[in-house]
Amino acid sequence: MKKIVVIYESMLVQMRQSFVRPMFKFCLFFNPIISTILLYEMYINSGETNYFAYVVLGSGLMGLWGCICFSSAGDINRERHSGTLAIIYTAPVSFREIVVGKIMGNTILSIFSFVMSLLVAKILFHIEIDIKNPFYFLFSFVATIVVFVIIATIVAFLLMLSRKTELYMNCIEVPLIMLSGFVFPVDLLPKPLQLFSRLIPSTYAVELLRITACGIEDINNFWNKVVLLTGISLLYVLGARLLYRIIDKRVRIKGNLNVV
């Protein structure tokens, strides 16, 4: 119960802090506009006609993920600069929960970039928002958000080990977009890379979004992917817990959290 309060409060505090940041607003408003236009231009001669499944979902997901990733990575540094990192790190509630709360705060704000993509697609290109299985789509969308929070949490933990977080962030953001098939299907990747894709839960989440948007042809296939997604996500959660325990010790031994 108390954990939930901490996650919730951290989320609210984070939302207030992120929203006033110009860079965050830029990611929220302009990134989706630009990527929607670019993707539309890319897909217009591709023969693919379901613009919603590729253009809107693609740019929306890219915007959402970029926002979550960059803000969450930078947040640890921002806490460091404001001198609050030491305080939240040594508070009796686990720092883990605070980080999760922060990422959830960023995520909720980031959903707006999805809305921006939708609006741009609708207004500029008159793309039909045609979702064949709206209920399943919504379910998949929520699953996607949860998966993003899990991955971003792991990324944030890893970045506790370094100060050069923004640099590393760039190395993580784009590969995930490619490997998870945000903008084009994973099947187009070279085979060895596809193997990696299969180990990342967001790959399944994105597939679920596309399947439900285009219309589920084989419900078993849908549920298979749901099971895979859940299984891999749970493994990631377990991994994140283990990882945190290791990193929590390591930052204090190496002194590289540089909290004050």
Partner: protein
């Protein structure tokens, strides 16, 4: 008196990278030992770089010792930190340590949540503490509109939010005006009356002499002298003369 802080042969090294291959080991704290009894005000003095902040970081569970023993309330600061964290708090000097985009009250509310304060008690505690640091009439202003000293006061309030048994203060009067510095000294004395333990560092020797029951003087990571203020003074008239002699300066 029961020993609430026990430090024995405590050592902390930092590895600093020099170029690509070379590494340099810096011994920030070099085998120090001291004890603090419950209800004491304990001073940690020494020149810049003597290792005071490093010692406080280890005691507040922010940093792991390289070697030696570092215990607070009988628990290891590295390994048993969960048993310590809700009973201590710290105040670092300077204008950081608060969220500038939140109001004073919102800051305190958030931090009290992190210390899992009862929501019924929370409001009362926050009002009480804002009064204590004289920020009541600015409670609902954003911290970014505060002066340096006001942020410092808010930090002090934050450090007291969980009614800690032990409060660590690293140069807490830096940046405070004379009235603010006096306010903090009075708070420290009040805390002592309530049976709290305070470990503080300061470069103001007069302040240290006025407040501390006991103190240690550190130099290059080692303790060069410890005891009650009169012991430290030895044959010198002022603490300052004794201090300068101990850290190897020239006493005029």
């Amino acid at each position: 008196m029961d020993k609430i802080i026990e430090v024995r042969n405590l050592r902390r090294e930092y590895i600093r990278k020099k170029g690509i291959r070379n590494k340099e080991t810096i011994v920030a704290v070099d085998g120090i030992s001291f004890e603090v009894g419950r209800g004491e005000i304990f001073g940690l003095l020494g020149q810049n770089g003597a290792g005071k902040t490093t010692t406080i970081k280890m005691l507040t569970t922010l940093l792991a010792p390289t070697a030696g023993e570092c215990k607070v309330l009988g628990f290891d600061c590295f390994g048993e930190e969960e048993k310590i964290r809700n009973k201590i708090n710290f105040i670092f000097g300077g204008e950081t340590g608060v969220y500038r985009r939140l109001t004073a009250r919102e800051n305190l509310r958030y931090f009290s949540n992190l210390y899992m304060l009862n929501s019924s008690k929370q409001k009362e505690r926050i009002d009480e503490i804002l009064e204590l640091v004289d920020l009541k009439n600015r409670a609902d202003d954003l911290a970014e509109t505060f002066s340096k000293g006001m942020i410092q006061r808010l930090q002090i309030a934050r450090g007291l939010i969980n009614d800690p048994e032990i409060i660590f203060m690293d140069e807490p009067t830096v940046g405070l005006d004379p009235v603010g510095a006096r306010m903090l000294r009075n708070i420290i004395i009040k805390l002592k009356e309530q049976g709290k333990t305070v470990l503080l560092t300061t470069h103001y020797l007069q302040e240290a002499e006025e407040l501390c029951d006991k103190m240690v003087i550190m130099k290059d990571g080692r303790i060069v002298k410890s005891g009650v203020p009169s012991e430290i003074k030895g044959g010198y008239v002022t603490l300052e003369d004794a201090y300068i002699d101990l850290v190897g300066g020239q006493v005029s």
